[in-house]
Amino acid sequence: MTALAFDTLLAIAIAATAAGAVVARGLYASIALFIIYGLMLAVAWVRLEAIDVALAEAAIGAGLTGILLVGAAARCRAVERRTGAIGDGSGERRTLLRTIQGAMAGVLAAAVGAAVLLLPDSAPGLTATVAGTIERSGVSNPVTAVLLNFRGYDTLLESMVLVVALVGVWSLGAEQFWGGRPGLKQHARTDGVLAYFGRMLPLVGLLVGIHLLWAGAHAPGGAFQAGTVLAAVWLLVAMAGLRDAPPIASMRLRLLIVVGPAWFLAVGAIGALAGSFLGLPEAFASELILAIEVLLTLSIAVTLVLLVLGVPRRTT
């Protein structure tokens, strides 16, 4: 009973913050509500007993997406100030159109909701299949077993999607800055709060990141969650102005970006010679997964930082 009451309050909070993010007049207010929505959603994932997803949602869905949106909003604001354009056009006030759009979105939500209610209460899923084969996967966290062994190709392609997205972001930069440093030089007061956090939190973040990476084999955590925490550490240091972002022409940086996916692919190719692509041999599965996760964490962390920092804007 208490659980259902909590879930109800949580569902209301999720729906209210999502609605607020959609209808709020100011863009910054919308983004703030979106970040709160993401954190509430992470709690819902905990309630659904999906701790791994909760970690990913809080760190990536709320945190990094929030930074991206705030950064974009700030740049748009600067452009609007320069050109005198207003962000939300006069089109926002047409009531009839809004009503029709709202009604259609409502019909869609009702149809999906009806599907939820009409489905049978119980579905077997693949829990038993995973539980039956997990001993041969090399890890004991079922989510990690699925990510890195049973459905390794998903994770391999996903890590490559990150690299492709980064190439896409870089290619949008102005030609004269190609190979330069991304973002603007950050200036923070050396005795300010940001600089203080920039010195204090990285230690905690590094420990949490390494713990998440190591724990991923048997408990919630793994390469993506750990990579995101490490990325957050780097971003904090960069935003506090303690250490500048590296130029994207740096060969060391580029090697770091591709080492994870490349090693994953190499292991997969060796598996192909032994019988099945990405099939990890049982005897070494545990060690191979750890090696893949460590390198993947490095690559993910670096790629996420560079995705957030954006296009190169300075030559030095």
Binding site: A50, L69, G102, V143
Partner: protein
């Protein structure tokens, strides 16, 4: 009603809110935000439906959702870069509306 059904319905509602935001808001960053709402609503719906498994939470949908969250971030990063470059090049932060006599000069 169980908590699982409740979160499934919440996911459906968030999808609807996201679609509304995507068509009703004009600022491009707002649209990307709404697009992310649709995505996370679908993830929540998927996760809630996957929790109906009688023998514990199904790990396969969880792994798929984690993959989805990361891919959504990659798409968002590309989208906001396109938006900021578009804004810097054209001076606009929203696409020309049908009602404005869109000269399309962007």
């Amino acid at each position: 009603m169980t908590g699982i059904t409740l979160f499934g319905l919440t996911g459906a509602l968030v999808i609807g809110l996201g679609v509304f935001g995507l068509v009703a808001r004009h600022h491009l960053v707002h649209r990307v935000l709404a697009f992310n709402l649709i995505g996370s609503g679908i993830f929540l719906l998927f996760g809630a439906l996957a929790s109906r498994s009688p023998n514990g939470t199904d790990p396969v949908p969880q792994a798929l959702v984690i993959t989805g969250i990361v891919v959504a971030l990659a798409a968002t990063a590309l989208a906001v870069t396109l938006i900021t470059r578009f804004a810097e090049a054209s001076g606009r932060t929203h696409l020309p509306d049908d009602s404005e006599d869109g000269d399309g000069a962007v």
